[in-house]
Symmetry: C2
Subunit: 235 residues, 2 copies
Amino acid sequence: MAYELYYWTGIQGRGEYIRLALEEAGAPYRDVAREQGDGVIEALAEQAQTPSFAPPVLKDGDMVLGQVSAILLYLGEALDLAPQDRRLRLWVHQIQLTIADFVVEGHDAHHPLGAGQYYEDQKPEARRRSTDFRQQRVPKFLTWFETVLTRNPLGSAHLAGDRISYADLSLFQIVAGLDYAFPKLMGRIGGDYPNVRALHDAVAERPNISAYLRSQRRLPGNEDDLFRHYPELDG
Amino acid sequence: MAYELYYWTGIQGRGEYIRLALEEAGAPYRDVAREQGDGVIEALAEQAQTPSFAPPVLKDGDMVLGQVSAILLYLGEALDLAPQDRRLRLWVHQIQLTIADFVVEGHDAHHPLGAGQYYEDQKPEARRRSTDFRQQRVPKFLTWFETVLTRNPLGSAHLAGDRISYADLSLFQIVAGLDYAFPKLMGRIGGDYPNVRALHDAVAERPNISAYLRSQRRLPGNEDDLFRHYPELDG
């Protein structure tokens, strides 16, 4: 039976981390809200015994699971996108959780006062927060990913183990997000993290991912998404 | 062999979610930085093959694991603080991840422009963000926890299953954090979430937790911690 993904239409958002795993594995899935509208997301939360605080939500048969990192923990095993070794599996999960933390910071760079207020109502604050994000946080996270790749005893092509994992796919996605939102910054410092860049490029060239990126299913970046290109916040 | 916890001295912080699990289970552990100073945290990250982006870090023999939710996933199994059933185990993990999201928002209520700048340099912004936090986010999260408790088919005394889990302990901790940081807010709305309050109180009375809370190991809340009591942000 096909997996069912429930996520806001119109953006890549957090749903994209799930889509990349499903697409890489060639797993059958339905993007339910894109078929039936965003209303199905709330409807699912209202009826589920395990309601999610926010999308994305994955439905597999009668299992309803939310939170990107929990969904990927589940799919990593089901789709063979995580190492077999239990410790390595936990390590991949730890990396994913750190990616999730970074995604929050990427969003808060343009919405430091909270998602409840428009960007237009917090522009000076976004300037200050994004300066800290560009100067301190992005380099700190990218340095960490580079270190993880460098220290992988099975080779620097993957964050953990010697095969693709969902964490590799997710790292691709945040680099793609940074390239979109902060082209000036990434033009300046992107080359400082050669293993990160090489992983991004290698993921983009994987047959299933490459086909996905060229498909209609891959939405372009936009200014409703988590990573937003506001030139005044780049530099 | 005793578990080794590495976390900043001086605050409860994110280390507390790990401590509560270890204390509830009566597991032997060393709080290494409190014995040897904060320097051991960075030293561990520099030498580990699996360096953590930030503490807390748990060392169990030669395994070095970071990220609160990953550590609790591991300890939940090792210390029998999670359901046996695989789906329920994922559900507990999903709840924990939502608690982790809330902790970030609790911190950002007083540091909306980033941890790199002092509170004193972002007070007006903290006022705006904390207003949104109090009026929108806290009620939304507490409503969700109340719903989860209410919908638990095995009883509303636990978030999942019919026994204590690490997520119950973590929910206790964020309610305690809110009580400390936002006493006015919680005085006004705390009663709206009776199952959440009952769970908090029941956890506090568990023998091992009660003994822990009265011990020197439980630090009092303070204004270096994640939850901070700034009267100007309460209301």
